[in-house]
Symmetry: C2
DNA sequence: TTACGTGCAAAGGTTTTGCACTAGC
DNA sequence: GCTAGTGCAAAACCTTTGCACGTAA
């Protein structure tokens, strides 16, 4: 469970107001761990509570929270941005994108610190964040494929 | 230099025609190594040769070449797709995205094979491709920042 | 020759913006 | 009470699609 209070503190530090809309959007992300919500999905969830929240407000809030490092923006290959809590401090995780069914799983493990050191030493590039996606075939699709008797 | 003949062979194998438009687009990518061109940028470059090539054709060709694994589609965080030659067989490389100036550098090194093995063993997910981006501050921006006397 | 490819324009989908109104601090 | 935040609608983008015409194989 992510600390909501630290999010509110970040808003304060940025002199950003805590409105009901913003609070709701933050809670939506808190209650959907491991999901990668698009603006429209957030909007739909928001409307289950408040009916008259505009899509523009959702976009503006997502932008704000991304700027405050509360959320992280991710692009899979479906032409829209998706967001999730930025859990960098807690545990870094990567994404496994199934190119068959489109499902996105998470994978926690980090072998990248050594690589980030090399990037700094060899190129003078100071890494702040990274994003790693694996594209492939998930277990369920692999099993289906096996049952269907496909060769590859 | 990427082998153009192998690209033409891939087109043939896919029963795709080699039109002047497609040939030109392929050559544009060949003559812009290390760049990550958007559809619009490709269109602009195409028009320097043929004036009446439509943007739709560019999109259709990019889609085609991506499907043939000739190009690779990449998303940085600027809301549009970018493309580059798929050099996976030659050397895997990753991207260093400067969050200050937006420049994208490349970095060749691969420590991910071990990680891909772990993903398969632990989760049954068979990795076909991966995409790794590092976000941070490039050397030039770091130097500027230093000169400007900024703390962070 | 003929099915595939193209240019143009229109449509589709996502994200941003202008403006008058509202409400947090 | 100020100013930032909001809802709505329009606009701005990026990308896809329909259709008549052109052309590579």
């Amino acid at each position: 469970m992510t600390q909501l209070s630290s999010v509110y503190r970040k808003l304060e530090e940025g002199a950003k107001r805590l409105t009901p809309q913003r609070e709701l959007i933050i809670k939506i992300f808190a209650s959907h761990p491991g999901e990668h919500l698009s603006a429209e999905e957030v909007h739909r969830l928001v409307r289950e509570e408040f009916n008259d929240v505009g899509l523009a407000t959702v976009y503006r809030t997502l932008e704000l929270l991304t700027g405050l490092d509360v959320l992280q923006r991710i692009h899979f290959n479906d032409g829209r941005s998706r967001y999730e809590f930025n859990q960098e401090e807690v545990h870094r995780h990567h994404h496994l994108v199934c190119t068959r069914c489109g499902k996105v799983e998470e994978f926690s493990e980090d072998l990248l610190d050594a690589l980030e050191d090399r990037v700094l030493k060899k190129r003078g590039f100071r890494v702040v964040d990274h994003e790693l996606k694996f594209f492939g075939i998930c277990q369920i699709c692999a099993r289906k494929r096996w049952q269907e008797g496909e060769i590859r």
